[in-house]
């Protein structure tokens, strides 16, 4: 009896803080979403938010951004992990360097890449035109066809190191005997990658991808700092739209309604992901 009481006492401070600053705000969002600024019940917020063309566009942009990012983050991160798992001279330092993009502040990554992608003075246009890859400088951040791919590229650069660390940890725990047995059978490097490494780290990749999905749906810093959603709403994603509704147009109730919808959709995406990744057919 006394033990059950002690355990609760230990967790209580954390629970109280979380309840105050997470549970209460979440419940309050629900309340805001179904009331007008005077506090009367209404469904107007949801109707307005669903009717606004920007809402759908922001959501589609978000899916494009998150989906595009994750594919490359996982592929490049896993490739980097396999490389960092080989023994070579200077491996320790290369492992440390690989982590740097992930550690630096998102806003720093945003400003530095924005400067590198600068149309006239940017080093990227200089290198590409110099190498003859493009005939004339491209306005990467102002052209509506290139801006989202550029955002995805920067996001991939920022987060593939995280995938690499996690997958590397998984690779390090692969029993050496598996490789030895495979070599007895005459397996080459690619056989090892396909038949040993990838199947062994699959659980790690699954859980890392889940984190990437959640972070991706949450991402706002990179795009907000570089384009604020422009040009022509081409990089407007749902989190930025919520932020704009609340803090630029001060439509707290509509922002709350959009938050509720967004939360439901995000929860469904996460649930579907969990279901697919857990079922054996999903392999």
């Amino acid at each position: 009896m006394s033990r059950s009481y002690t355990g609760l006492v230990f967790i209580l401070p954390a629970i109280i803080v979380l309840a105050m600053l997470i549970a209460y705000p979440v419940i309050y969002t629900g309340y805001l979403s179904v009331t007008d600024p005077q506090g009367a019940l209404t469904t107007k917020n949801f109707v307005n938010v669903i009717r606004a063309p920007a809402s759908l566009q922001a959501f589609l942009n978000l899916i494009y951004f998150v989906g595009g990012s994750i594919v490359f983050q996982v592929v490049l991160g896993t490739a980097a992990a396999i490389l960092l798992n080989q023994s070579f001279y200077g491996r320790g330092i290369v492992r440390s360097i690989t982590l740097i993009p992930w550690v630096v502040p998102g806003i720093v990554a945003a400003t530095t890449w924005a400067w590198m992608f600068h149309t006239e003075f940017g080093i990227i246009n200089y290198m590409l035109t110099g190498a003859g890859a493009i005939p004339a400088p491209i306005g990467w951040l102002t052209n509506k066809d290139t801006v989202m791919p550029v955002m995805i590229a920067i996001n991939v650069w920022k987060l593939f190191p995280f995938v690499a660390v996690m997958v590397l940890a998984g690779l390090q725990s692969v029993p050496q005997e598996l490789y030895e047995a495979a070599r007895m059978d005459g397996a080459n490097f690619w056989n090892e990658v396909r038949d040993i490494m990838l199947p062994q780290v699959r659980p790690v990749i699954v859980s890392v991808t889940l984190l990437l999905v959640i972070w991706g749906l949450n991402s706002i810093t990179l795009i907000y700092a570089i384009t604020r959603g422009g040009p022509a709403n081409k990089t407007l994603i749902t989190p930025i739209l919520i932020f704009r509704l609340a803090f630029e147009s001060f439509q707290f109730n509509q922002a709350a309604a959009l938050s509720v919808l967004f939360f439901i959709v995000a929860a469904i995406i996460v649930a579907i992901y969990l279901r697919v990744s857990r079922s054996p057919e999903g392999a």
Partner: protein, 277 residues
């Protein structure tokens, strides 16, 4: 390891070089740009190395901007929220790792759900809550907000460390009459130092880098943090890319140093939390 062919060696070396280049090039360019003069930054085609290296951009950042003040704000807020998150996480993790009580699973999932909530979805109500508590534009406001961001993963990571400590050690001390809290501080914490370090690095780096909550909840220059300062710097001096690059470097150094010095412990803690769950 099997002996590799020459081709294999070559592939590995080249891939490693490409990896280093991809990860470091933006920082090299940041550093080079930060010591160029304004006219040189706006030269077409761009120069790789500065003709006349200058520290003028750093002087602007250090003496003619709000960056030093924001730096101080960032330190206060990051240290404060890291300390608070660590304190709460230590107790909560110990409670979860060592006790059985009614509703434990419910509380555990409640803590984790905090990690899953979309940030954007709680900004508005959190803002209203803070305004109600009178905490908008205060250090405490951001410290509390950052605590709830880092708390869930901190609890998750620490739990796996606490579970790994043999319970017999604690039982012996309890037999000797040490209190539960005494056991926690004298036996469990010293043994889980790597986990503590991992949580501290994670919480500090996360709060140091955080942008969007700071943007919403700290609109006064007495509490604004560095990420906001950097964003401001690039609009305030729209054309001063040298200053922006210098400020970026100033902001990156503390986290990069902290992280690289603690990297081994941190990565261990992170991956332990993830693989043992």
């Amino acid at each position: 390891m099997m002996r590799r062919s020459l081709l294999g060696e070559l592939t590995i070396s080249i891939s490693a070089l490409v990896l280093i280049l991809v990860c470091l090039f933006p920082f090299a360019w940041m550093a080079l740009s930060s010591i160029k003069t304004l006219p040189e930054l706006y030269t077409i085609p761009p120069h790789w190395l500065p003709d006349a290296p200058t520290l003028g951009n750093y002087a602007t950042v250090l003496f003619n901007s709000n960056i030093p003040r924001y730096f101080l704000n960032s330190v206060i807020i990051s240290v404060g929220s890291t300390a608070l998150a660590l304190l709460l996480a230590v107790f909560a993790s110990y409670g979860f790792a060592r006790f059985n009580f009614r509703g434990k699973r419910l509380f555990q999932s409640f803590v984790l759900v905090g990690q899953l909530l979309p940030t954007a979805a709680i900004i508005v109500p959190l803002f209203i809550t803070l305004r109600y508590l009178g905490l908008v534009n205060t250090y405490w406001g951001l410290i509390l907000v950052y605590t709830i961001i880092t708390l869930p993963l901190s609890v998750w990571m620490l739990q796996s460390y606490f579970r790994a400590i043999p319970y017999e050690l604690e039982e012996a001390a309890i037999m000797d009459g040490t209190s539960r809290v005494g056991v926690l501080f004298r036996i469990v914490l010293p043994l889980s130092l790597p986990g503590i370090v991992a949580v501290v690095v994670y919480a500090f780096v996360t709060t140091w880098n955080e942008f969007i909550f700071a943007l919403c909840f700290a609109t006064d220059s007495t509490v604004k943090t560095l990420p906001i300062g950097l964003a401001e710097f690039s609009t305030e001096f729209n054309t001063d890319w040298g200053g922006v690059m210098a400020a970026s470097l100033v902001m990156t150094l503390p986290v990069a140093l902290l992280f690289l010095s603690m990297q081994r412990l941190f990565v261990g803690g992170l991956t332990a939390g993830a693989t043992k769950g």
